[in-house]
């Protein structure tokens, strides 16, 4: 998915925090690591990209579509079909087993699109390739952190997204798992032809990406000009 941000400004109400991105372009199927100190707006950036919040000023084009021009329902449907989310704390539902957690985005999309068989095929391919087939009937307290993150990755990929947004996905993992999950994400993004935007603090992770932006630096300079890909 092509991402094009133009003269973006966003500020949280009742807060001094603001995010300004004059220009940022990420080409389809490319990947970008986003680094920066806490509170510099990395997560806000991901939420803007997902259309969960809208910029006060400026445009965000995803595949040429300005998110501002979409209604809330259209943005939600766009998110369901095209965007996969991965979080640092996994955010899996404790009342669902791992299989149901992976299928949650499909259920939220009312199970109409894509069709059952397609999702089933994708599910089995995903859990096979991520090595989590044996976890499907287990609950959250029966799996390790590394396994939880792999389940979260499967959940993000189940709808076949073209944009993967990962918010510090390796933050809660041990060094060995960190690199493994990072590689897994990159491999899967490549396999699904998805653009990967990954927020991290970890230099070792950043080193594995060909492109990165430091939000801290850009924010302090109040400018952000970057073209990736």
């Amino acid at each position: 998915m092509d991402i094009h941000i133009n003269k973006l400004y966003f500020g949280w109400p009742a807060s001094t925090f603001s995010l300004e991105i004059p220009h940022l372009k990420v080409a389809s199927e490319d990947s970008l690591a986003v680094v920066g100190a806490s509170g510099c707006g990395k997560t806000t950036f991901l939420r803007l990209l997902a259309g969960l919040i809208l910029p006060d000023v400026g445009e965000i084009f995803l595949n040429g579509q300005d998110l501002k021009n979409l209604s809330e329902t259209q943005r939600r449907e766009f998110r369901q079909r095209h965007i996969g989310f991965i979080y640092q704390d996994f955010r899996l539902m404790d009342y669902l087993n791992m299989k149901d957690n992976i299928l949650l985005p499909w259920r939220l999309a009312r199970g109409r699109d894509p069709k059952d068989t397609l999702v089933r095929d994708r599910l089995y391919r995903l859990i096979e390739s991520l090595g989590i087939s044996h976890l499907m009937n287990r609950t959250l307290d029966q799996v390790s952190s590394g396994e939880r993150q792999r389940v979260a990755i499967a959940r993000a990929l189940i709808m076949g997204p073209s944009l993967l947004l990962a918010d510090e996905p390796t933050g809660n993992l041990d060094p060995e798992n960190k690199l493994m999950v990072c590689k897994l994400l990159q491999d899967k993004a490549q396999e699904y032809g998805a653009t990967l935007i990954l927020v991290t603090h970890d230099q070792a992770i950043v080193d594995r990406f060909s492109h990165s932006v430091d939000f801290g630096t850009f924010q302090s300079n109040r400018t952000m000009e970057k073209e990736v890909g």
Binding site: R76, R79, F85, M93, Y95, L96, L104, P105, L108, G111
Partner: protein, 393 residues
Amino acid sequence: MNRHLLYLAMRYLMHHRRRTFLLWLGLSITCLLPLGVHHLTKMFEARLRSRAEQTPLLLGVRGNDYDLVLHALYFRNVLTERLSMGDWNQINQREGILAIPLCHTFRARSYPVIGTTIDYFDLRQLSFASGHSFTELGQCVLGATLAESLGLGVGDTLMSDPENVFDLAGSYPLKCRIVGVLAPTASVDDSAVFVDLKTQWIMEGLGHGHDAATPESMASGEWTTSQEGDIVATAAVLPYLEITQANAADFHFHQATDDLPISAVLIWPSSVMASTLLLGDYQDPSQPLQVIRPTEVVDSMMAWVLRVRSFLDWNYFLVALAVGSFLLLIVLLSLKLREEECGILRDLGGSRSWIFRLMLLEWGALLLASGLVAFGMVRVLGFLLQHWLERFL
């Protein structure tokens, strides 16, 4: 309904079993109390009314209508003021009137003993599960529940309870032979002992049987001669405690039959006119006797019961309001607790209405389950309490 929504709601409820159970229990009890009281009152009313409808009119000593109805229809209490067989005769001789005398003073093994005539069985449409109606003095017929709970049947005997264990000069208990057991009717008749009126009077001591005065018994002092020259029995002459073929002829009454007491008369008029005329004749408040319509008394009793129920309904309404407030608080707290979960669902593409419907479905399922269980419990309670109501009414 969206099957995915239903699936997720069920998964949530199943996962939080303890929480779900507690909520379900609370809601079930909240529903059960008013539903149960309503159902029981309805059952109570139906039973009370059906018995009253079977008996168009009642004759008794003027006084408390409720006491008379409870006594004559439900065998609940013993009346101190009684009428006589003469009163019954007067009514029974009227055209278009069928009257059944009833006398209930004693109990046997705590069950009411009802003295009546054999017509009672026909008019109440009571049939015999075994044996037959009483035909001789000292015989009795048992209701189905009573026979079952005491383990008695045809051929056994049943002793009436002593009137007063401290009064040695009072009436003596009488051993009755059981000659019939009634088929169950789900009414108060199932828990009563029926005897002939004469047997009832013998229990009361109004009639008795004893050894005749002989020169030997006169000599032994069991009998004496009064100043008027009459032969009088002393306390040493004991009455028979059982009526047998051998001693039946020795039983006698010292009063004319018309003077012997009864406690009420059940009346079946053959027409509205016969009924109206009878009611008119006993309308005068200065008369010692009264004729009443049991249905009117039952309606007035039920109006009182319903007033109590309406008070209870208000009480339950307030309780339900309090429970509703607590539930609202729980819902709000639960929403607060599930804020993060809602956030994830929104991030993954769930709409606010979808999330709202999910939670609504969870609560709806809980409410439905509670309602169904409460409804089922009311039915089960009704079934279990039916037996108790049968004994009571």
